[in-house]
Symmetry: C2
Subunit: 462 residues, 2 copies
């Protein structure tokens, strides 16, 4: 193993004299780990550090930088010229960069994000330690922030230089020296003000901000409620970190809704567009639920087997089985989708469960009565027209009518309560898909049906 | 009937002399129809007209104005001071105003819309003759338009006066003297330009605009695709009529998705939030579909009756009926929701039907095989564990396995093709709700089941 032959004395001498050609030749012979040692030796001399990094190859520069301790990294971020820093930051391996970003204070993170290319920034943000699906993943650091003590003239000067960097300049964000968000001011208001007015004189301190750690879906609600085009994002110390724009929220909302809809249809959320999803992936996303539902539905066979005796004595009962169970499934699907959507829109919450329950019991009762009457008359009519169900038509008509009433009510209650229950258990309410509710209701629907049948048909048919 | 006693000569004399107190006293004694006559007499004297309307009571003013012929109305819109016009326009009955707006050219409509209160404007737009759900209903007339020949200095002057009127000034719209949209220019770009540069020098003539008659849902796609915060709206002559902002599109997208989700759950779209919808309305929105589905499902009873003979010989067949039909319903629900959403997002179109069909046949085949095997082994296992299905277990196992395969495939095909078919027929694809597809598949599922049973069980059980 060869001994590292870094002549620190000689390097420092060359750095002091500014011997750039020599340093470029010499430094790039060393390994990053050796270069790091040099950095630690010269760290008290800012001018040496700048020259040192200027003399490194692009590869050596970032490989050295990313292995430094966080304090040194922070020092260099404040020290190095943006152009150089930009190359280093964009070249860094994303995980190293993220590890660094996680340690740095908000304002420096911000500076770094601005220096990254769009692609790298997306990567950085996605890895930044903000939880998946948090506002942090949704925001962009391209905004305009001005100091409360600036004059309007200074703001305009700043805007002329920095307007390019932001997605929207409808709102200018006001921060104090610590980067804390104080207000948002409409650019309109600034345009109408005199040039020597100071920013803080225009402030009303009325503003809304998103919290970087909050769930990103909360942004949808805020944007929808208050007609914003842009909202600022802050951390728990109210340091301004970025902005979220309505167009990004629109995309997010559509993705969320797509996921919900697919779940309602008992499909695991697809990652890509339907048309771009290959068949094997499509089958996997569907097979899981289809198998679960099939296994659940197997219970209907067992339930029916339990009543095999009744069935063999009265085969006519079998004829109405699909009708009865599907009625419960349909009313359950209705209730479930209504509740899933109402919860996604924030219209109802778990605490409203009793209010919802009462509403659904009443709805189920009315719907069940309507459908039950239709069922009753189906049997009565077929009996009188085709001369069917001789001797037991009334019992059968009542069986169908009351079974439908019971099953529809039951479906409505299960369908409306299941999304709330899932939410309570920490699961996604949309998991209570229409087919899932239908399956749940099918087994109990059979029990209701055969119990009612025993009640009305014992003595005639049974 | 009293004779109208309008002394036109005297009125004109008073108008000429500017005798305001006398006119205010005198004019307000007349009926609107009489006042209209006066207008027609003095229409060549703009200064008379202004004074005339200034002397009318608020009620007389708008009642007279709204009964005038369109040419006179247009003349007055250009003539009357904004303050006065504003009162009249806001007081007018919405239908009269709409009738007027329908006749007027785009730039005057624009002027009028700006003078209306938010509430009146919403009413006006909703009645404006733009088809329901068109971009015209979504837009707001509050935008900033500048002339291509203005200098940057003039633009800033204009902005200082008019910035209040618009929702967003990120983009300034450039029009020619006829109000035709020529370009959009980012305010950033204008801020960086010298004051004596003319607007047309900054133009790149690269812009996107929405068409006022297009369906409003098209806006969702454009906003999502290209990350806009604001887009201009033009008529067929490219006259700039308004803007649409991303926050409105977000609201629209969420409403559309809510409607789709409710339809997928076989509920007619609710007008209000779930929690605000009274029970009787809720029941009505659900009963329609529930009855339709029930009537459809009645066919299963008839289908089963057709096989009553087989059933009475082999009651065991009845036990698997819910299992078989629900498998088809579930796979159909999956396919339908996937396609409904893909169509809503513009990912697939009717023309892709063959590509989709192939994909779904393959998916259905794979899914059906998986579920079919599960079904086969259910029968085989129960047979060996519980000693059931003696003498015919293999036939029954094959019956269940192949029925499930067939029903799942059939459900997949029906579920995927129905949304496309509905779209083709001009209906909303979301009408092919999960329960609707399930019901459709149930009847055919029974036919598949009993046919397969005859194939495998004749000689043993049948």
């Amino acid at each position: 193993m060869e001994e590292a032959l870094v002549d620190i004395e000689q390097i420092i001498a060359a750095l002091a004299k500014g011997e750039q050609p020599y340093l470029m030749e010499e430094l790039n012979k060393y390994l990053p780990s050796e270069l790091i040692d040099i950095v630690y030796q010269i760290e008290e001399h800012p001018q040496y550090l700048i020259l040192f990094f200027r003399c490194l190859d692009r590869e050596n520069a970032y490989e050295t930088f990313q292995e430094l301790e966080i304090d040194y990294q922070e020092k260099l971020i404040n020290l190095l010229p943006n152009r150089q820093l930009q190359l280093i930051l964009n070249d860094m391996s994303p995980d190293k960069r993220t590890a660094m970003l996680e340690e740095l204070p908000g304002d420096i993170i911000n500076k770094i994000l601005k220096l990254l290319t769009i692609k790298e920034r997306a990567v950085a943000l996605s890895l930044l330690g903000y939880p998946e699906n948090s506002i942090g993943r949704l925001m962009t650091p391209d905004y305009i922030a001005v100091n409360e003590n600036w004059t309007v003239a200074q703001v305009f000067e700043y805007l002329r230089e920095h307007a390019e960097e932001t997605e929207s300049i409808d709102f200018i964000f006001v921060v104090n020296n610590q980067g804390k968000l104080l207000d948002d001011i409409a650019l309109k208001k600034i345009m109408l003000a005199d040039f020597d007015v100071q920013v803080h004189e225009l402030m009303d301190e009325q503003f809304e901000a998103l919290s970087v750690m909050e769930d990103e879906t909360s942004a949808i609600e805020v944007f929808k409620r208050d007609d914003y085009l842009v909202l600022p994002v802050v951390d728990s110390n109210n340091i301004l970190l970025g902005i979220v724009t309505a167009d990004d929220v629109l995309q997010l909302a559509e993705e969320e809704d797509t996921e919900d809809i697919q779940k309602i249809g008992a499909v695991e959320a697809l990652e890509d567009a339907y048309i771009d999803t290959p068949v094997h992936l499509m089958v996997r996303k569907r097979a899981v639920w289809l198998i679960i539902l099939f296994l659940g539905e197997l219970l209907t066979a067992s339930a029916m087997a339990y009543f095999e005796d009744e069935l063999s004595r009265a085969v006519v009962l079998a004829l109405f089985v699909p009708l009865i169970v599907s009625s419960g499934g349909n009313s359950g699907s209705q209730a479930a989708t209504l509740l899933i959507r109402a919860m996604a829109l924030g219209e109802v919450h778990i605490n409203d469960w009793w209010r919802i329950m009462r509403k659904e019991i009443l709805s189920g009762l009315l719907l069940g009565t309507i459908i039950g009457i239709v069922g009753f008359f189906r049997v009565a009519l077929w009996s009188s027209i085709f001369g069917l169900y001789d001797g037991y038509w009334l019992g059968l008509a009542f069986t169908i009518g009351f079974s439908v009433l019971g099953v529809v009510m039951w479906g409505t209650i299960v369908g409306s309560m299941l999304p709330l229950l899932l939410k309570r258990l920490g699961a996604d309410p949309a998991t209570s898909s229409a087919p899932f509710v239908a399956t749940l209701v099918d087994v109990t629907g059979l029990l209701i049906y055969f119990t009612v049948a025993t009640l009305f048909l014992t003595g005639t048919l049974l």
